[in-house]
């Protein structure tokens, strides 16, 4: 059986007395899109930051491509990428310049053509020479996505990629995400508060609540488990309930 692309095991992180991520375990297989869901403060972003090596865990292990992230961070980062609604590319640089710099950082071959490709994919080719700081929120998010696709990432972490997009562009972004999974075999970890995103894009979801994994499975399994009709209802139920019995430990893929 093929090793998972990402294997998170017993991941725990606390900041002082606050436990942000508590004994979280999950894995993603090649070509899978996993939704990491939860209300604000559930620990999703902290988990992603640990997967990027920006935050170090108190305990637990992260294996990417079968290698320990703590030991092979740079080698792993070359093969993955991320896009977060909380980051921006330098606003003083042109779109092309930003992508060129990051393409060099990720050692992208045939970079100029690749820049054209990703701009085309996200339908912002016409913004190539625009100053990044002059882009609208939606255009800026798509530029971030372009950056995250530059190196044909085998593992892509998308932190609320459709947060600032109108429904039309959000739909296009979801199609791009599925396209790179289908055509390039990318493995994707996807966080979103938009449950429509999740239902449309994700193969499986992991629900987090107060730093712990509450439940993991396909959308249908989640609905059945929580006895709700939609993921949005599940989300609301989870967010508003302090009494939910958590299912800790290993989560099956």
């Amino acid at each position: 059986m093929e090793n998972p692309v990402l294997q998170v095991s017993g991941l725990t992180k606390s900041f002082g007395d606050v436990v942000s991520v508590n004994n979280v375990s999950f894995e993603i297989r090649r070509g899978e899109i996993l939704g990491l869901l939860g209300a604000n403060g559930a620990g999703k972003t902290t988990a992603i930051n640990m997967l990027l090596g920006i935050v170090s865990p108190n305990s637990g292990t992260i294996k990417v491509f079968g290698k320990d992230l703590a030991e092979s961070r740079i080698e792993i980062l070359r093969r993955m990428n991320f896009c977060s609604t909380y980051t921006q590319l330098p606003g003083n640089l042109r779109v092309r310049q930003n992508l060129y710099v990051f393409g060099k950082l990720y050692r992208v071959p045939d970079l100029k053509n690749r820049i054209d490709e990703v701009l085309e994919m996200l339908e912002i080719s016409h913004l190539r020479e625009r100053v990044s700081g002059h882009l609208s929120a939606g255009e800026s998010t798509r530029l971030n996505l372009c950056k995250s696709l530059l190196n044909h990432p085998e593992l892509l972490l998308l932190d609320e990629p459709t947060a600032s997009l109108d429904p039309d562009i959000a739909d296009k972004v979801r199609k791009v995400v599925k396209k790179i999974r289908d055509e390039e075999g990318a493995t994707i970890l996807y966080t979103s508060h938009n449950m429509r995103d999740v239902e449309e894009v994700c193969d499986r979801v992991v629900f987090m609540h107060k730093g712990e994994v509450l439940f993991a499975g396909t959308s249908d399994e989640v609905l059945e488990h929580f006895k709700q009709d939609t993921l949005e209802d599940v989300f609301i139920q989870v967010a508003r309930s302090g009494e939910i019995e958590t299912q800790k430990g290993e989560v099956e893929s």
């Binding site: 090596g53 920006i54 980062l77 980051t87 003083n92 710099v101 060099k104």
Partner: protein, 265 residues
Amino acid sequence: MSLTTVGALVLRYLYLYTRTPIRMVELLFWPLVNLLVWGYLTVFLQKHTDDSFPFEITFLIGAVVLWEILFRAQQGVAIFFLEDVWSRNLLNIFAAPVTNADYLCSTYTVGLMRAGVTSVMLSIFALPLYSFNIFSLSWSLIPFVFNLLVFGWALGMISTSLIVRWGPAAESLAWAVPFLIQPFAAVFYPVSALPVALQWVAKALPCSYIFEGMRDGLTNGEVDMNGLLIATGLNFVYLALAGVLFVRVMNTAREKGLLTKFSSQ
């Protein structure tokens, strides 16, 4: 360390300056203002003081030129980091395959370029305005510039480490740190002008030997080699300590999630 990565990080900085030429004001305007103030003070003192030191006093102009090398090298390192904070780009950089060595080397390169631009510009202006030729220091300019660059880099790393550790509220340290040491660095006056206790502080700073050497060089054409060697030795100690501090602070930043806080503020 990867030259491609260092090149990409430096390129980003060059794009920034070519995109927004107003940033050159910082590199050219303020140093030029400094040169004019100290230059005309020198002219005034030369006209109104005893004939016994009409030439030596030009060391004030030399001090301005050499101080800018240290200051701009320090700024290159510290501002490089802050540019990413201000543009909320920090996570993109530190989530990219960039090692601490890549990052530091690119900040050194930018510091070198900044120091180069400013000092060359000041040297060119000082010649027609005040008949002051920094190149009269001859070969000793090489170790002077090298030592000031290295100390500037070390101070830059210390500034950046403090900013990472204490957050955006500590941004002003990027400008303050060089001026904290300036009174003891013997930039505009000799070490002997300081009280005895502070002379020990001055002797612990590599740049004080350089400024003393510059004054000796301009006055009698001789440079204290012993002082140069002490400065070089001290510089390696400072650079190593600053490097250790930077790596330790970055590790602390990863433990405490400090880098992510920069992105959310």
